[in-house]
Amino acid sequence: MNSPSMSFQQRVSHALADGQLRIALDRTTERFTSNRVAGLASLPDADAVRDCARSIRLHTLSKLDDYLEQFEANVTSVGGQVHWASDAQEANEIVLDLARSRSVKRVVKSKSMVSEETELNQALISGGLDVVESDLGEYIIQLAGETPSHIIAPAVHKTREQVGQLLADKLGVPMTDDPVEMTATARSALRDVFLQSEMGISGVNFGVASTGSLAIVTNEGNASLTVTAPRIHVAMMGIERIVPTLDDLAVMLLVLARSATGQKLTVYTDLLTGPRRGDPDGPEELHVVLLDNGRSRLIGTEVSEVLACIRCGACLNACPVYQQIGGHAYGSVYSGPIGAVLTPSLDREGPWHVLPEASSLCGACREVCPVRIDIPRMLLALRAETVHSGKGNRWVRVGFWLYRIAATKPWLFRCGVSVVRQLTKMFFVNGWLLRLPSPLPSWTRSREFPVIASRTFSEEMRDREKGSGDE
């Protein structure tokens, strides 16, 4: 993963100052959240379904190696080919080699977070290929030269006016702010791309071990066309994306769309089992690229549960931090609460240790997760790891060191409290401190600090006990 050029603090300030972004985020995260609630309410027993979905994911991860081998054997038995990639570079080389050896010039893509992770588009374009994204949101951000800011709504950060202007600038169509017209423009522009590309690259929502099938879901139908019209289908898939059987798949699909958009099922849920077999259309070759890129190392660790994620995006919409700063401020491919766990876990050398700090630990992410991933627990584990490895903020470390000394000696703690109380009294305005002295001013940059109460809780209790003793 590429490291961002600005620091996390700078990216956050940047995002918070972006009025258009705030409008776009307000309009969308709220709608996603209420749609999700309605979607789950349509299940007779949503909690039991979520428990079952979680158990399927954890079961799969607990014998992932066996299921991967079974999946590979079944993909092969129906005429597909499986390629294993340890890291992003190897995955991109596999795809590039396939394209070169088969004289591919044009590639159409449907949305794949794994390909964002490996930066496949850049690799293919540098390799001289023509690559076009076909998901409307991805198409928009590709035209804008940007990266996705949401797992399932990549262009969520753009307002309709911005999209209208972009299409006018890039495609020479008249400016409009009507999403219906913009969608029609994209439909006709992408028609030829689907029909003339030699290779279609898709992501994979689930790989079914018992049949070797790939399940791919979209609402637009762009993945269906991507995997049907071109001669070669390449499916990019994280190694954790396995379900054991079709019955398990049916359970996962009960919660995926409901958690993502509130739909009971996406418009197109495609189950692809091998290349065409005497059919009049469909791909002649099917290649599945299984990407590890740091995943296998997480099995058996404190954060292994993050691999249970089904990429619905519900935790992003629910997160009070994401709602304010959007996806780009995270600086990583995966944003929001799940991204704050996944990114530093997959890429241990990157500058990501600050991401787990971007959470109030309110637990909204765990609450909405269809497979009940305990994200706050893992955020805390990652924070602890940062401190132990000495990567954390120096002042935080000094602060906690001082606190430990004070907190383990009651007399010192009491002294400290009265000193600080006297100090805060000198600076407060209407009961609040508006600006703390160095090294603490970053606390008061965006919020006020309360003045310490004139009596502490222990003083209060001591007096009360005295009082009751007198009666």
């Binding site: 439909r187 019209a229 049916a250 469909g282 296998s296």
Partner: protein, 255 residues
């Protein structure tokens, strides 16, 4: 590549060393109803809720008439259709042609070595005509499968999709369909679960219909005799189990 395969599997194995295999919970029973007439009603209700248009028919001639009316109302001049034997009503295609609609041929015969990838003719079709192998009542979904005589682009490319679904093929849920017809997934390269017309909300969550796939989906939910019942019988005879060995033998049975 083989090096990576070994290394990845080895890392997973050493990671899970000593940890027990976690058990799967049984999925809760979600079947809304087993009564067939309320199943159909539920299907109609859900399909209409996602924007599909459902027409019910209990007579073959009425079904044919309805299809002709839909195509006529939409001003369809060019149609892609599945082969007559792959449509639930084999006389449907002939009736459409007799009505003056031009058929667009899929580019090459099904058994050709490599396909001619010239889709431009198909892309000019105004409508696609298919037959469903299943319906899902709780989501209003139709199930389509590819095969010889069943081009996939039929349900993907044209702006209008007309699909015939026999009401006896309506299953309560996706889970029920997988339980009874999982074999269809094994023997078809592409099984599509289609729930309403193509849509997007990528621009500010504003719902827009017909982005890449059809803008209109007409479902003919029919109760009369259909030719392809044997297909469903074959599928229903085979049930899916978790044992690959079992599945192979059942697969053979179906063939």
């Amino acid at each position: 590549m083989n090096e990576s395969r070994g290394a990845i599997l080895e890392r997973i194995r050493s990671g899970r060393l000593g940890a027990p295999v976690q058990s799967r919970l049984d999925p809760p029973t979600l079947i809304p109803t087993k009564d067939s007439s309320s199943l159909r009603d539920r299907f109609v209700q859900e399909a209409e809720a996602v924007g599909a248009i459902v027409h019910r028919s209990d007579r073959r001639d009425l079904t044919v008439e309805t299809v002709l009316r839909i195509l006529g109302d939409a001003g369809v001049k060019r149609l892609i259709s599945w082969e007559p034997n792959d449509l639930p009503i084999s006389e449907l295609m002939k009736a459409v042609v007799d009505d003056g609609v031009q058929l667009v041929d899929p580019p090459t015969p099904a058994n050709a070595e490599t396909l001619s990838r010239e889709w431009t003719a198909m892309a000019t079709a105004d409508a696609g005509l298919t037959g469903a192998v299943g319906g899902l009542a709780d989501t209003g979904t139709i199930v389509l499968r590819s095969g010889p005589g069943r081009p996939r682009l039929t349900w993907l490319l044209p702006p209008l999709h007309v699909v015939v679904l026999h009401s006896s093929f309506v299953h309560p849920t996706l889970s029920a369909f997988m339980g009874e017809c999982g074999e269809l997934v094994r023997c078809s390269s592409h099984v599509a679960f289609v729930t309403g017309p193509s849509r997007t909300a990528d621009i500010e969550q504003t719902l827009t219909i017909g982005v890449h796939g059809p803008k209109e989906v007409h479902i003919l939910l029919v109760d009369h005799d259909c030719k392809s019942i044997e297909e469903s019988e074959a599928a229903q005879a085979a049930t899916v189990s978790d044992e690959p060995g079992d599945q192979m033998s059942k697969h053979d049975l179906v063939q």
